[in-house]
């Protein structure tokens, strides 16, 4: 799952470095992801994993690291 998340981040996160070199717990905002890029990442994750994040999961914290994104997706039943 985390490799797919990294691909989405590379395509939509507008990070100045490849997501492949980021630790799972690295803060994506500190790494350069903007607020709008996080929205684009969220939309792309929904498309990639065929899920829809409920409103209560659409927080800044939920998208701050690969770990936190994976945790949110796991909650939605993605394995």
């Amino acid at each position: 799952m985390k490799e797919r998340i990294r691909r989405v981040l590379d395509d939509h996160g507008r990070l100045p470095v490849s997501a492949g070199i980021l630790e799972d717990e690295a803060n994506l905002y500190s790494a350069g992801m903007t607020s709008h890029a996080s929205v684009n990442v969220m939309l792309a994750l929904e498309e990639e994993f065929d899920v829809e994040f409920p409103d209560e999961m659409l927080t800044r914290n939920a998208f701050e690291s690969i770990d936190s994104i994976a945790s949110s997706l796991t909650t939605l039943g993605v394995s």
Binding site: H12, T34, S35, H36, V39, N40, L43, T59
Partner: protein, 157 residues
């Protein structure tokens, strides 16, 4: 005996009042004005609008009035105008800080005033976070350049 019991109580109430007054004064002194600024690349908005989830993006981030204000006949919704509104929302979040950083995008909206000037309208968690700080007035300025949109917000009590 009764005097011994009442006197410390009066002293405690008095001390509490003094501390509360000091806290109010400190809050006023430190935060008479708060500012927020943000810049958005228009291509990020265009990318969201081109995605299969464009409709979800529009409804998740922008209110009906904002979507209407950013549309024009023949052109549909304009990415640069949406980008300016997104920048304004983020600037408001930064100006308030704290819980507002997690506020839903639609709880911060930019409307048009009688003279066409942009006005900030808050609801839900964003409004609650602003109330907590006593912030009642928000002035916003939007700017466009090809490729970028920016906003600055000044929040006052």
């Amino acid at each position: 005996m009764a005097l011994y019991l009442i006197a410390p109580s009066i002293a405690l109430v008095g001390a509490g009042a003094v501390l509360a007054a000091r806290a109010r004064f400190r809050l006023r002194r430190i935060d008479p004005v708060r500012i927020g600024v943000d810049i958005v690349e228009v291509r990020d908005v265009a990318s969201a609008l081109a995605s299969p989830r464009a409709e979800r993006y529009l409804r998740l981030v922008y209110g009906a009035g904002e979507r209407r204000d950013c549309s024009s006949p023949g052109f549909g919704v304009e990415p640069s105008r949406l980008a300016a509104r997104f920048a304004a929302k983020e600037a408001v979040r930064k100006a308030i800080g704290g819980a507002a950083l997690e506020a839903p995008w639609t709880s911060i909206q930019v409307e048009r005033g009688p003279g066409g000037e942009p006005l900030v309208r808050l609801a839900g968690p964003a409004a609650a976070a602003a109330r907590e700080l006593g912030l009642r007035r928000f002035a916003v300025s939007l700017s466009h350049e090809p490729g970028y949109a920016a906003a600055m917000v000044v929040a006052t009590r």
